[in-house]
Structure formats: C-alpha cells, structure tokens
Amino acid sequence: MSYSITEPSSRQKWIAGILVVGYALLTLLPLVWIIATGFKTPADAIAYPPKVVFTPSLEGYVNLFTSRSRVTPEDLAALGPPTTWYDAIVRQYDMVITGPSRYGERFMNSVIIGFGSTFLSVFLGTIAAYAFSRFKVPLKDDLLFFILSTRMMPPIAVAIPIFLMYRELGLSDTHLGMILLYTAVNLSLSVWLLKGFIDEIPIEYEEAALIDGYTRFQAFYKVVLPQAATGIASTAIFCLIFAWNEYAFAVLLTSGTAQTAPPFIPTIIGAGGKDWPAVAAGATLFLLPIMVFTILLRKHLLRGITFGAVRK
C-alpha cells in the first residue's frame, strides 16, 4: 500500500466527519419538520412544546385534497354514518366534503409546465450548443455572452413587459405561455452546460462518421447525441428543477388555469386560520420528488452544479 504524506490522518477524518454530519442533521431538521407536520392533527401541529412524538394522522392530506363545508350537528346526524375513512376524519369537525380541492390541478400544471419547458429548453439548447461548439457562428462570443446575460435580469423587471405582451397575445394564464417563458429562462443554462459537455466529445468521432458517408444530421444524432446523453440528462434535471420551483413569474402571470403549485401551496387555509398540516402535506408531496431525485442522481447532479458554474 502506498503511503501519502498528504492523506488526512484518521483522527482528522473523524473530526471532519462528526462536524459535517452535525451540520447535515441540523440543516435537515426543517425538512424533517415539514414531512412530520403533514402527518399531525392541527392541534398537534401547534402544540407547545413542539411535539416530536405524536400519533400520525392523515387529516392534513385529507384537507389538502378536499374542500369542505361546516354543517349543523343535526344535519350531520341526518346524513347517516360516514361511508369512507376520509369522510369519517372530516366529520369529527362537523364538516362534510363538498368536492376535491384545487391542489391536484395545480400539481398537474406544475408537471405539464415543468416537463414541457424542460423538453423544449433541452432540445433547443442541445442543437444550439452543438452549433456553437462545432461551427463558426458569426459573433459567437457575443451571442454566448448575450445568452448568459439574460440570466442577470430580475424576474420582476422582465415580468412587466411580459405581462403586457402576454395580455395582448392571449398567453396570460396559459400553459403554452408559461412553457415558453420557462424555456427562455432555462435556455441560457442549458446552452452553456451542454456546450461544455459537447466540447468534451472528440471531434474526430464525427469526422470519422462523415468520412464513412454519414450526413451532418446523421453524425449529430447517431454519434454526438449518444455521447452527450449523460450531459443532456443532467441538464434536463436542472431545467426541470428550475421550472418546478419557479415562483415569481408564476405568481404574476397565472391565476387560475395555468397556476403551478408554488404560488398555490402558501394560500392553503383552513377553517380557523392557516391549516399547517395541509400546507405541510402539500409541500411534502411537492418537494419529495426533488429530494428523491437529488439523492438518487447525486453523482451527475453535484457534478453538474459546479461544472456549470465553473465553466461560466
């Protein structure tokens, strides 16, 4: 075994490990608290001192997905026994379920707009990055800088004219409008990240393919695309995360049909003030996919964050 004089001693490793794990546990506490609060009853959620041990309840999730209204005890008695378990939970509070809440719709909007804009920005980003990487594009450096600089504008500043423009074009509060907007915002990231990945693929591969009789297009999708697949996938994840989390444009440009979950979740309220278990349940369902994603794909993701940043 080779011995390196620069390798940290095992005591140093232990100390470093304990400090990092300590920080990680502290930093995860708010996230654990969100998940836990989703399974509390409203009374448990606001108990003092904060309850660490509690009887789990699905009340938060029931309230998240339903809209309810209060009825008099006599009316409630006249309804007969509850037919479903969620009916039973709601009736403890002298309420009946009147229908589904808007959470499902808002969540689906997030899915449609998130995936739609991710697909578009990765598609456009890949072909633009390929062109920037392989061909002599006039004013290349200026164009690349322009693409990057679009990222510096505060969203609210861009939102003023976009708000007016979308109203003229009938794109306000539509899925298409939001997809186009998020695509444009993500393009700078996707072009820059993907250019980095494509630059790393040796140009000789394509030249060999061209000599073998492939056309440019064939060389692009049969040689370059498979080589860039990992890069494309990690770029897609970044674009998806941005679109999934975006709030400023969503809150200003959507109100009903195309509203995504981030502006909706904070507006969830219960009968007497804020229904924290329902908010937490909504947040959990919304945040959990990203958490799982991050943990499963950590190798590509962590590299991507610094890669993109360091390249710029």
């Binding site: 608290w33 679009t150 186009l180 945040l287």
Partner: protein, 315 residues
C-alpha cells in the same frame, strides 16, 4: 457506378469540402440550430427590455389603459433616485447581500474543507446537505414562517432551548430588529450548500503534489493553508460570490413568502419594492424605470466584479 465515383471523389477531397458536397451545408445547419434559441431569447428578453425602456419614459399605468399616455422624459428616473424609499430598499438589499455572502462563504468554505478530508460516506452527507437548495424557495420560505412562530415555532423553541429565553418573547419575522436577520438565516440555510459545492470543486482542483512539495519543505499545515489552499481556491470562492451576489440582488420568492417585505419596510428588498410599484400600485412607467435602474446596477456591478475575477485568475 455513379455511387462508386461519388465515394472516390469524397475520399479524395479534404473533409471540409466533402461535407459540403453532401446535402445541407454546415453553415445552413449552424443557422438552423442557433436561430430558434436566439429568436426565443429575443422575444422573451430583448423585446421586453426594449419595451421596458420605452415605457420608463412615459406615465403609462396598466390599470388605466384609457388614460392618455404622455412622454415624461427622465422624470421617472429622477423621482426614483430622489425617493428615500428607493434608497431604503437598496440599503435593505445591501444588508441582506453582504451578510448572506459573508455567512455562506465562511460556512460553505469550512464545510468544503471538512468534506475534502474524505471521511467515509462523505458523498452521501454532501448530498443531504445540498437538499435545501434544490427545493422551491417559495414553498420552503412559506413553511419557515411556521418555524418562526413565537412559542410554537421550532426555531424559537430551539433558540429558547439554547439560550434559556422565553420562546414566546420574540418574533423573528414580526420585529423590526429581527426580520432582516430572519431572511438572512433562511437564505444562508438554503444556499450555503451551493457555495460549498463550488469551494469543493476548487479544493479538489489543487494537485496533491503541491502539498507534497510543501511537506518536503517542512511548511506547517497553517502555512500550507494560507499559501496554497486559500490562494488556489480563491477564484472559485470569488465565482461563488458572483453567483450568490447576482441571485440575491434579484431575490424575490423566498423573502416575499417569509416577510412580504415587512414589518414596515425593513425587509423590502428592491425586487419586492418593484413588484409593489408594478403590480399593486400599477405605476407601470415608473416601475419600468425602476427595473432599468436595477438591471443597469446588477449588470454594472457584475462586469466590474468579473474584471477583478479575471485578474485573480491570471495571477
């Protein structure tokens, strides 16, 4: 026969020429591939920017579309720059910017330094630390208002546990003196991992041979840190500062959900102030001028900073 000839010609000609012989030229492909991106960015960035600049010279109000629109010249700009509220929100932004950067750089660098000791399981713990920055700032910020509740909030309970103060005696988001710190704490919680990852990339880019040489020269660990580690990681640190600086200058979602700019205007960062002017008071012309000023400021500061960064890199 023809195919055979074509192939022989293709093989004999240099690659660039051969490519041009087959179907679409590279030039056409280059244009075909770049144009959609440029067009979309023009439509969603440059066209609106141009519109914003034109609006900023008028008294247009979106909520009164039938009022006559008058050209007012630089009147809006004059009003903004002489408005004490603008300077108050710039001050709030500066306070937020400086403290978040200081805290995130210190904690982020320390974490990266520790993780670089390569203890067992360091990559899983790194991922767990990174989780907060992957999540929706609006949704998480909204939940932090719950953690910040006097008495019942976990944060207050935690502080009370550590200091012995009464958890009902203070409100992080309700008090003028505490609210600016409430947003700094959440932003630091959320974005320290980003600085950490960039620092980690910087630390890992230092070749071990340099430390070996320093060891041979009997340089102390302390001296190695100040003469090797820090200078070599500095360009990365500066890059992290640039990104956090730009992002936090634009900060909107997290703070709007946490404090909404309050109490009073203590956490009214420029983006929140701008949103009020544009989408609550509907002073579109005025807000457009405000937007232009902010954009010029962030662009100017970033350009100066990038120059400094390049100097450090070239050193």
């Amino acid at each position: 026969m023809h195919d055979d000839l074509a192939q022989r010609v293709a093989a004999a000609t240099p690659p660039a020429l051969a490519r041009r012989l087959r179907g679409v030229s590279d030039r056409t492909i280059a244009w075909l591939f770049v144009t959609p991106t440029i067009l979309l960015l023009l439509a969603v960035n440059i066209f609106p920017l141009n519109w914003t600049i034109r609006l900023s010279l008028t008294n247009f109000r979106t909520n009164r579309p039938n009022n006559p629109v008058e050209f007012v010249g630089i009147e809006n700009y004059r009003k903004i720059l002489t408005n004490p509220d603008t300077w108050a929100s710039l001050q709030a932004t500066a306070h937020f910017l400086i403290w978040t950067i200081v805290l995130q750089v210190l904690i982020g660098f320390a974490l990266a330094y520790l993780i670089n000791k390569k203890f067992r399981g360091n990559d899983l713990w790194t991922t767990l630390i990174v989780l907060p920055m992957m999540l929706s700032p609006a949704v998480v910020g909204n939940f932090w208002t719950f953690l910040y509740q006097p008495q019942i909030g976990l944060f207050n309970y935690f502080v009370a546990f550590l200091t012995g103060a009464d958890p009902a005696s203070f409100s992080m988001i309700g008090e003028v003196s505490l609210a600016p710190w409430a947003i700094i704490i959440v932003d630091t919680w959320m974005w320290t991992p980003f600085v950490m990852l960039i620092c980690l990339a910087g630390l890992r880019s230092i070749p071990p041979s340099i430390y070996e040489a320093a060891e041979c020269d009997r340089a102390s660990k302390w001296r190695q840190f100040w003469t090797i580690t820090l200078p070599m990681a500095l360009p990365f640190l500066m890059l992290a500062v640039l990104f956090r600086g730009i992002e936090n200058f634009k900060m909107f979602d997290l703070v709007v959900q946490l404090t909404g700019g309050g109490p009073g205007a203590t956490t009214q960062l420029t983006s929140i102030d701008l949103k009020r002017e544009a989408f609550e008071k509907w002073r579109t012309g005025f807000a457009s001028a405000y937007a232009v000023i902010l954009f010029v400021t962030v662009f100017g500061l970033a350009s100066i900073y990038v120059k400094a960064l390049n100097k450090v890199k070239d050193r």
